[in-house]
Each structure stands twice: as C-alpha cells, then as structure tokens.
Symmetry: C2
Subunit: 268 residues, 2 copies
C-alpha cells in the first residue's frame, strides 16, 4: 500500500503465479516460490485499496467448487478477472479454461473477464489476432499482454487485431500492455525463460550500460510511449500494466518509478 | 540531373541490376528489364554530376578482362564501388567476389570498396555482424543495406556490429541504410520478393491508407530518423540512401521527396 498509494493508479493486477516448468523444460533462472493466492492477498492485505483489481486465476490450480464459489462471490465493481488455462497444452487439467469461462457467464455475468494476448505467439504463428477474436466471442472484454520488449511484434498484433475487428464489424476491446524493468542479465535470462522476445539491441544496450536498470527504464518508457501513440492512431483502446518479474528490491522500486513515468504518457 | 540537382546530395548510388530469378523461384511481381550498365550510364548521362558516385558491380555479369580494366580506370576521387557476388549460392560464376575484391586491392587500392549488409539475414541467422567483419577485413570501407522497413532488425545488426568492432579493437565503418517509398500493394509484393521484411503493421497501414504513398513516405522518414538517432547514440557512422524499387513516375518522384525530407534529419 505504501509503495503504491502515491501513484494515481486506475487499478492493480494480481497474478496467480504458476511454476510453468511443464511449459519450459529449461532450468528456471529464478527458482519458483509458491505465492499467496492473489484473492487471499487482496482480502488480507489490500482491503483498503480503493480501485478495481484484476485477479488472475490459473484455473487448473483450483478445485471446481472453490473456483465456482470464488466467481460467484466477487463484487464486479471491485474485481475483474483474467482466467488462464494450463501452462502446457500437454496437461489435462481438472478444469478447462472453457469451463471456467462458462461459469463466469452463468454465475456472475457482470464480472469482467479478460484474456491473455501474446505478441510473441503472433510473431511465430501470425494468428494471435484470431485467437483474441475467439476469446472476445467467449466473453473477454479486455486483454493483458505478456511483458513487452519487442515493439514491432506488439504493433503487428495491435494492427492485425484492429483490422480483424473492423472486417467483422466488432469494436476492439482494451489491450493492456505489460512493461517491466530489467536490472541484470539474470533478469533478462528470466524474461526469455518466460517467453518474452527481447531484441538483441536491447540486450546489448543493457549489457553495456553503466546502469542497466536506468537504461531499461528509459527503454521501457520509450516503448510504452510509442505503443500508446500507435494505439491512439489506430483507435484501439489500451491500458498499461507495470510489473516486476524479479523480487529484487531495486527492481521492484524501479517498476514503481516506471509506472509513475508511464502515467505521464497515458494521461496526456 | 533535373530531378536531383536541387537536392544537396553527398553522392549517388548506381545499381547493377540483375535478374535474380536464380535466387528467388517465385514469380517476379515486376518483370525484369535489363538496364544500361551503371558505369556506361555514369559516363554517358551523368558526366556533369558533381559528387562521388557509388557504382555497383554484379561481378558475375562481367568478363574478367572487362572488370579488371574497369577497376583500373576508375578515378577514386569520383567513384566508389560495391561489389556483389552471385545472386544464388548455387551458381558458379566465372568471377568470384573474392577475385574481384583482390583485383581492387591490386589494381586500384585507392578505390573505395563497399559491401552489402542485410538486416534480414541477421534476423534469420544472427551472424551478419560477423559477415560484415569478414568483409571489412577483406577491404570493405563501408556497407550499404537492402531497403529497410524492419527497424528492429536494422537496430539489431547495428548494435551487434558495433559491439563486435569494439571487442576486436576495430573502428566501425559507415553503414548506408537504404529507404524507399511504397505506393501500392504491388510494390510491397515486389519488396518482399526482393527479400525485404515488411512488418505486418506497416503493410496494414499502407493497405488501409487513403494515400499509401504519403503514408509510406511518413513511415520511411520516421524510421530513418529513429535509425539515425540510434546510430548516433551508439557511435556508428552512417549514411542514408534513397531508391525507388519501382519505375512508376509517382514513386520515383516520391523518392526524390523522401531524400529531401531525410536530408533534414541527417544534417541536424
């Protein structure tokens, strides 16, 4: 609360962090630490928080009855949710993403549902805009991206999504772009492990910077500013999310500073 | 001469255009028309031109004695050359690029030699910076890129090249970035046929623009400006080259306008 209360935030995102070792066989650069459930964290530590909160649900982690009850109990004025399927397409979870989406529509239709958008997947398969359309038809009212370092990939996705919406006569929903700082090569390695495409020139900039954290912050602010301008030009509603992918104090504090700087670009 | 004399150009680039159908089996969107040899064109039509001219030599097109004589006869104060190997690595030309490079060193060592740099190849193989180093060690004193539409790829190459130079204690030589306008989907198709990576968002922008030529010009100016800033920040010497890949009058005239606009960014 102390870190964030001086920022004029529209909302918070609370992730439901999963091991994801089933998705990526490479060694995890930072070891996995199970975290407090984001919904418990909200109830126990952020009850005084004054804006809506996006609570992630990694649906495969939960029991059917628990997840149904959670969906039912949320106050849609205070909570939004992003439901995330199993990390690996090989696993067969007890609850599928489609089940969870259907329960939301049945039990709490006012609860705003978001989905995950991946510019990286669009670079590989060129069909992420069609996946977004399918999620939108399944009830998603906003999207949140993975951390963005590859501006070109993000622009490609926004552009393809926008023209796909137009051709179907649908209005685009907000895309919330996620940014983070990267203060060390270890964090960069972890970003790559998470599936983030970090362009070579950015890696080189950070590797040779006297102060990588400051260089990363500057780079993230510029990327966010350019993406904001691009979305405005294309008429795609957007949001900006800032996270720290590492638990190092200096990177957490730098992400608070990043949020503060990005707000200046969003509000102009 | 009339088109160009009002521009304050540092030089001209005269390409030696090859069919390249051996390199790309897909149908060529614009049919190939053999052109006047660039050296003849310079002698017959541009003898009043007042700045140095970069004359391309597709070495495989020429006979040994003709190419040796040509190298010998050039005035290095007026001519620079870029020697280009065979379009397809499958062909076995009478003259190899290594032969031609050696002749230049032997017959006219003052004649400035340039090489081709490909950001696209760097995206695929991640070793173009090492190829540039090898060319530099073989005598290249500058590089000229293929047409740049993918800013991220160009930045990756510049950055990797710069740090490779640093690690070997060598000074980077100028990289001349080529830009062109694209006034129609047919021209865009031709750019792709030539091997240029045109990002999806730029394609979408042009496809849906009321005036694709004007949109393309604006896009090229912005990309050039950003690349110039990037090279300056990294201390890599650069140049800007503008070409028209189509023979349509409006695209040729727009490339003259593009050159004029880009000069403003180079000279500030």
């Amino acid at each position: 609360m102390e870190r964030l209360r001086h920022l004029d935030l529209d909302g918070l995102v609370l992730y439901d962090i999963d091991d994801e070792s089933s998705r990526n066989p490479d060694e995890r650069p930072f070891p996995f630490t199970p975290t407090v459930d984001p919904s418990d964290y909200l109830a126990d530590h952020l009850h005084q928080w004054h804006t809506p909160v996006v609570v992630y649900r990694a649906v495969a982690k939960h029991r059917r009855e628990d997840l149904r009850r959670w969906i039912e109990q949320q106050d849609p004025r205070r909570t939004l949710t992003v439901m995330v399927g199993s990390a690996s397409s090989g696993a067969t979870p007890a609850i599928s993403l489609a089940d969870a989406q259907a329960w939301r529509a049945e039990l709490n239709p006012e609860l705003l549902l978001g989905g995950v958008a991946s510019p990286e997947r669009h670079s590989r398969r060129e069909n992420e805009h069609l996946r977004l359309m399918a999620k939108q038809l399944a009830g998603c009212r906003f999207f949140v991206t993975q951390v963005v370092y590859d501006l070109n990939a993000a622009k490609n996705l926004v552009s393809d999504y926008r023209y796909e919406c137009e051709s179907r006569g649908m209005a685009p929903v907000p895309i919330v772009f996620t940014f983070s700082v990267c203060g060390s090569m270890k964090t960069l390695e972890f970003l790559r492990w998470l599936g983030v495409d970090v362009p070579r020139w950015i890696e080189n900039d950070l590797r040779h910077a006297a102060n990588p954290l400051a260089a990363s912050m500057e780079q993230a602010v510029m990327t966010a500013a350019e993406l904001i301008e691009f979305c405005r030009r294309l008429g795609v509603p957007f949001g900006i999310n800032v996270e720290s992918v590492s638990i190092r104090r200096e990177e957490i504090e730098a992400s608070v500073e990043l949020a503060s700087q990005v707000i200046g670009h969003v509000r102009t």
